[in-house]
Each structure stands twice: as C-alpha cells, then as structure tokens.
Assembly symmetry: C2
Homo-oligomer: 219 residues x 2
Amino acid sequence: MPVKVVIGKDLLEENRKKASDLRKRFADAGVKVINILSAPGAGKTSLLEETVPRVRKLGIRAGVIEGDVATARDAERLSPLGIPVVQITTLGACHLDSAMIWTALSEMDLSGLDLLFIENVGNLVCPSSFDLGEDLRMVVLSTAEGSDKPAKYPAAFLSCQVVVINKTDLIPYTDFNVEQVLAEISGLKASIKTFKVSCRSKEGLDEWSVWLADWVRQG
Amino acid sequence: MPVKVVIGKDLLEENRKKASDLRKRFADAGVKVINILSAPGAGKTSLLEETVPRVRKLGIRAGVIEGDVATARDAERLSPLGIPVVQITTLGACHLDSAMIWTALSEMDLSGLDLLFIENVGNLVCPSSFDLGEDLRMVVLSTAEGSDKPAKYPAAFLSCQVVVINKTDLIPYTDFNVEQVLAEISGLKASIKTFKVSCRSKEGLDEWSVWLADWVRQG
C-alpha cells in the first residue's frame, strides 16, 4: 500500500532546532514542561482543571499553553484557575510546532512558574512528530475510545513517557478492557508509566497529582 | 498568534486532480461513495458493522476501504460481513489522499457494488482538506467527546453533509448536550443532516440505514 509523507524532513529539522532552543530556555528558567497529546475529547482540558489546583496545594506553580485549531474555549475554561494561560489558535494546522511555542512565550512569564503544560491540538497522529522542547510527553486516552488505540496510533504512544487513562467512570458502559490496554502500552514501550483517572468521579486524580508534583521537584 | 500551513497548495492541487478522476470512475461504475471522518474511537468501524447488514437487507451492496495509520484491525473486524474490504495502512500519514484510494481500487471490483464506504484515518483535522472523490462526506461524533467539537474542529464539520452522533447510550453518564451540539452544527452549516445512533443499544440504526439506502438509490 502507498505511503505519502506529508511532513517534510526540512520542516521537522527546523522544528527540532527551535525545540532545542526552547529546551534550553525552559531549563534556564527552571520550568519543567509537559506536552499533552490526545484524540479530540479525551479530556485534556478537564484533566488540567483537576490537576492544577491539586499540584498547587503541593507547592507547584503551573501555567498552560493551549493549542486549538479554532476557538479559545479551552483557555476560557481554564481562566477560573487564576494561572497564566496563553491560547494558540492554529487556524487549521493540525499540531503545535516549536515556533508557535516560542511566540506564545512572549505572552508568558516563565519566572513565576515551576511547571508548564502545553495542551496540544486534539489529534493522535500529527503532534507525535513535533518536539516542543518538553521534558515529558503524555497521552490522555479516554476509555470511550476503545481498547485498540495504542496499537492503532503507535507513534503517539511510542513517543510518550506517561499515559493517563481518563473517564474510568465510563468503563462499565463500554467495551474498554483496562488490562488489554495496559498490556498493549507495555508491549509498545515497557517504560511508559500509566495512571487511571476520572475527572468526573475524581478517581485517581490525587495519586496522579502527587506523582506529578514529585516529578517536577525531583527535576 | 502564528499560523503554520503544513499542507502545501501543490499537494492539495495534485490531490484534487486525482479526486476528480476518482469521481468520474465511481460515477461510471454506478457506485456512490461516502468518506467517513471522525476522531479516534468515535465508532466508525462499529457503525459500518451495523450499517452494512441493514442496507444489504434493503438491496444495497456495499464495500469498504479502510484507512489506518497502523494495523489492519479494522479490516479484520469487517471481514465477517463477507463484503469486499481493502485496507490502506498509511504508515504514519495522518489522512487518506486520492492517490491512495486510486491504488486501493486495484484490489476492489466496483462492478458488484452500489455503495463504497471509505473509512478515513481517525483524525478530525487533516482529512478535512483531502477530497477523495466521494459523493458524500460524513462525520461520526461520539457523545463521549463532549459538546464543543463542532466549534473546535470546524473544517471537518463545514466540509460534510451528514453528521452521525454515535454512542447515545453514554449520554446519561456524560455532560454531552444534544441540543447544544445540534445547534452548533446547524450554526456552522444549516444544510447538514444529523442522525443519533448507538451501536450498543442499536438506537437509531434502522432509521439511519433506511435514509442511506434511499440516498444511494436516488442517486
């Protein structure tokens, strides 16, 4: 079957250079950075709404860069958290790149932050190829998406260090098989750390947040 | 905020030409073609599993071209239906293009078909830009993805004629607001036809299939 590579090598190389600059800038500012990938509607923004107050209680000051194809709705949802939030609207582009992050930083004061979340465009394919200078990449997987996603979207899962399985409250009403998914993730890359949470029932959110705060502090 | 256009004009123009050839080829063969877009895990394959036997009873002979980044799992799921299925594995590319469909047709005999479904890669962004020579484009939206998806992924919804809201059985366990979503879809493009179905409870599937069979027949 034919293969068409849409994202050219030059573009990726250009992105990589800028990502390297970003990584140095983040390190100089003492800010840890997480790049969050998922399919549309997996719950990235909901997870941030739950996580930011929890890590704040643990002494971690967080900011967010929001990436969306259209609208600033996610940034507006986060505004009650009272933290720095910058929205990038890609106007159709399917992923964030490091140049966009560099520009967004002109609106974000890193000096008051310990942790910067970058919420990528909802897309399990394209964002996988674009380094944003992050320290950690995570995938949020909704139980409503089915158990086959790690095998069907391997690039995203292979490129991440953490998978958060969200919407565990829906498991009784779906065919989602937690054991199968954990086995598939582990089969792809054994070092991936996994969490099971529900932003509705609040299951697992404290455990996830404690781990995250520790990770930020331990550098 | 910065805009980065990854998909160049030349690529789209090349795709458009081949799509035009495809459209002629489909029309000559008397086959109606549907391009199905959705986020990962919205239930495109499940919807085909339910729809194909229903339209068969209504005299419609269907075939499927399956698009996936990796694995042939969806084609394997459809194999019990006993219909022609061709799998395109894009090996990382984020959408199907018309050249891929042209190649896939070398494995698909159109003469025995009334209807060809093309199940695109699970991605609500990139496939929107690529005409596959289809007669009808539809978006499958899972209720578990939340009510804000039409506004957040306008290109997909603006380019389609039909939206199938799937997993209505999950509505009681989510914040999904059917009225809000229908209003947003209608606000984007008033002519979009919508259906509400559940591949689990079977709600709405007969109505959808009857409409579809009529559409195929009425040309």
